[in-house]
């Protein structure tokens, strides 16, 4: 139903996929001891899912590249990416491989399986929910007061992150990125990319919170997807805190099957490059995403083999600075489809492009967005959340009412922004 709201056309595709998944699952179960047959069904399903993903998401990218590489002029298909196809197919694959490996049993009821693949809360923007995490809850959905309350609160936190912070700073970033702010200065380049860093985190983790909250209302417990990534002190740590369900997926279904770090240094490095190239590519059908993934691969390799040998000797503040700097640069690569535009932007951050260090425009932006930035920066740390949790667990009625009113006010603020929305972008729609 929820899916139909946005994308009624693709419902047949989704139903079709779920039938294939279900059927292959059952077959693998039947031939559990016949390795060859089992493998065939696993491959059928994985290939089907990947083909769907390839068709909807990547075909134009490959046609475009083939055209420019061989001077062809095959027309682009202009396929519209269905919402959540990347998340959906990855979930299906995780289910099939888990059944194949025997780490989970296959779902006997098609209805339950369909519920799993079309679980509406996470369908647009993750987290990637593995079958194992929800398997036991699929049969019964108990709506209890506790779940309802926890779920609504979690949802409101997510809504607030998205509507009150991400949309706000996103407006600033889009003005800088699209050149609506014409008089740039070095300060503005930095302000811009910090705005984007806030936008993508609050947008994406906000959606995850909303999904986790909604699922909670229906008695399902999803995996967490973010764990305060911006307080990381290295890129390795960043990826343990950012989009955790995606990195776990790639680790379990690509990195480890490839041999992980067990087959010598060369294979290890190769595996890292493959996994991160794919991770980047998963984010979008465009070269900059592949570079973005490889950029992380290179840093991760350097950290693993060089930096971590003497990491303890380096002051924590410098570690933080190092991580934030590299993350910000990664967002530049991420946010510009055109590699040259991204490179231009990075030059601007480091004093290039013949712009002044500071100008009035920068001052204006700092005045008007200063508070939002401070608030967003503060909310990137776990301090507020911890404090709120503590209050929520107090027995005192007065405190409980106050906390409830806090949520209520936040809700009203969100409504005010939504009713008045002229700007409500959705950053993760192409994934």
């Amino acid at each position: 139903m929820f899916y139909a709201w946005g994308e009624i056309r693709f419902i047949p595709v989704m139903l079709g996929l779920s039938v294939v998944d279900y059927w292959c699952g059952r077959k693998m179960d039947k031939y559990f001891d016949d390795k060859k047959k089992k493998r065939i069904f696993m491959l059928i399903d994985v290939i089907t899912n990947l083909s769907v993903l390839f068709f909807f998401k990547y075909i134009d990218f490959f046609i475009g590249n083939a055209n420019s590489l061989f001077g062809l002029s095959i027309p682009l298909l202009g396929v519209i990416l269905p919402i959540g196809v990347s998340f959906n197919t990855f979930q299906s694959i995780s289910y099939t491989i888990d059944v194949y490996r025997g780490t989970t049993t296959c779902e006997k009821s098609y209805y339950n399986y369909l519920t799993y693949t079309t679980l509406f809360p996470q369908i647009i923007a993750g987290p990637i929910v593995r079958y194992v995490t929800v398997e036991d809850d699929l049969d019964i959905h108990p709506i209890t007061v506790d779940n309802l309350s926890l779920g609504i609160r979690r949802f409101l936190i997510g809504l607030g992150k998205k509507v009150l912070i991400a949309n706000n700073v996103g407006l600033l970033w889009s003005q800088i990125q699209n050149g609506q702010i014409t008089e740039l200065s070095t300060v503005l380049y930095w302000v811009g990319i910090v705005a984007f860093a806030f936008q993508i985190y609050f947008d994406f983790s906000g959606y995850s919170d909303m999904a986790i909250g909604l699922a909670k209302i229906f008695g399902l417990t999803f995996d967490e997807n973010f764990n305060y990534p911006y307080i990381s002190r290295s890129i390795t740590e960043f990826w343990r805190r950012w989009h955790m369900t995606l990195s776990a997926w790639f680790k379990d279904y690509v990195y480890i099957p490839l041999g992980g770090n067990r087959k010598g240094k060369v294979a290890h490095i190769r595996n890292l490059l493959i996994v991160w190239g794919l991770t980047g590519f998963w984010h979008g059908a465009s070269w900059n995403f592949i570079f973005w993934g490889l950029y992380f691969a290179v840093i991760l390799i350097i950290e693993k083999f060089v930096l971590f040998r003497f990491w303890e000797k380096i002051p924590k503040a410098i570690q933080h600075l190092y991580a934030i700097l590299l993350i910000l640069i990664s967002w530049v690569i991420f946010s510009f489809d055109s590699v040259s535009a991204g490179w231009n932007f990075i030059k601007g951050m480091f004093g290039g492009n013949h712009v002044p260090f500071y100008n009035e425009q920068a001052g204006y932006v700092l005045i008007t967005y200063g508070f939002t930035f401070l608030l967003a920066g503060f909310l990137c740390t776990p301090v507020f959340r911890k404090w709120l949790f503590k209050l929520e667990n107090k027995k005192n009625k007065g405190i409980q009412i106050t906390v409830s009113l806090f949520y209520l006010v936040m809700f009203l603020f969100c409504v005010a922004y939504l009713v008045n929305s002229t700007y409500n972008p959705f950053l993760y729609f192409r994934f």
Partner: protein, 369 residues
Amino acid sequence: MNKVFVRIIIPIWLLFVIMNFAVPKKEFSETENRMLSKFPTFSIGELFNGKFMQNIDDYINDHFIGRDYWVSLKSGIDLGIGKRESNGIYIGKQALLENIKAPNQVYVQKNIDGMKRFMKRHSQQAYFMLIPSASAIQPQKLPPLAPTWDQKAFINQVYSKLPSSIKPIDAYTTLSHHKDEYIYYRTDHHWTTKGAYYSYLEACKAMNITPRNESEFTIKPQTNKFYGTLSSKSGIQTVPSDVIESYDLGAKATFTTQNGNKVNNYDSIYFNQYLNEKDKYAFFLGKNEPIVTIKTNSNSGKKLLLFKDSYSHCYSQFLTKDYSEIVLLDMRYINTDIEKTMNIADFDQVLFLYSMDVFTHQNQLMKLR
């Protein structure tokens, strides 16, 4: 905690949902001065391309209970956290100012080409007044460090491209001299009648008209409760309302609007009925119409063709004793060839009177042959 929270939030949420269904729907928003979206009619095609759901979203948004209060709540929060801009409107010191976007050079060129083309085929002397916006003339009202672009240089650049058949009128300098006076509305994007009057003095010099002294007009405040487009667009209601003044020369004038085959006649250029409505600026010449003819009892016999946007509405009253006939054309609403229905040679002068925003972001003058 869980019980307390649920007991507070669920009833409020339910109340919201019920009220939204129960409260009667408006068709028109006075504050925003626009038609609100209608409940979409269902069609399979729209269902499949997602348009239907989009329309329902819009409908819910437009008819949300207490919409105006939500809009001002949002503006209030924005102000509180330091934002000085809402929906492209600067929130200045006791005034709202439109943040005019940098010119669309392609449109500008097309407009200039249109004027040139037209005047090449007609022999009258033409005049062009490009009216700067409040943000350029009254920077003292802007929020601190608010960015603007150089409209003076832009106007000079446009004027330098005009052929001798189109004479430029420098409103910028005149208005700047009076920048501390009440020459732009606080809550609306138009100039005040006073601002228009100063520019009129400048135009008289170029157009060989003896300017009329302020003492010749009956200057009368028509309302002091005008909240214009900027306050609706920004949702800011803390700026004091505006005063609309009329400068009446006492000339008898009839007023004819023409929209396709629909012709309406009025016996005055002032429309008192709009003073009781939201859009009080329509007091001057009524709402925007494609073709408007003002016939006066002036015995000058002179006829003026005026290409205009709504800035001209309060400007025309100054001319009622110097022209027997003024025809105002709003090219935004004209899509047929005007020369099929009117003889351009009848006119003695042609005036292009455009505000910065319209001239730099709409290319309607390219419709001129």
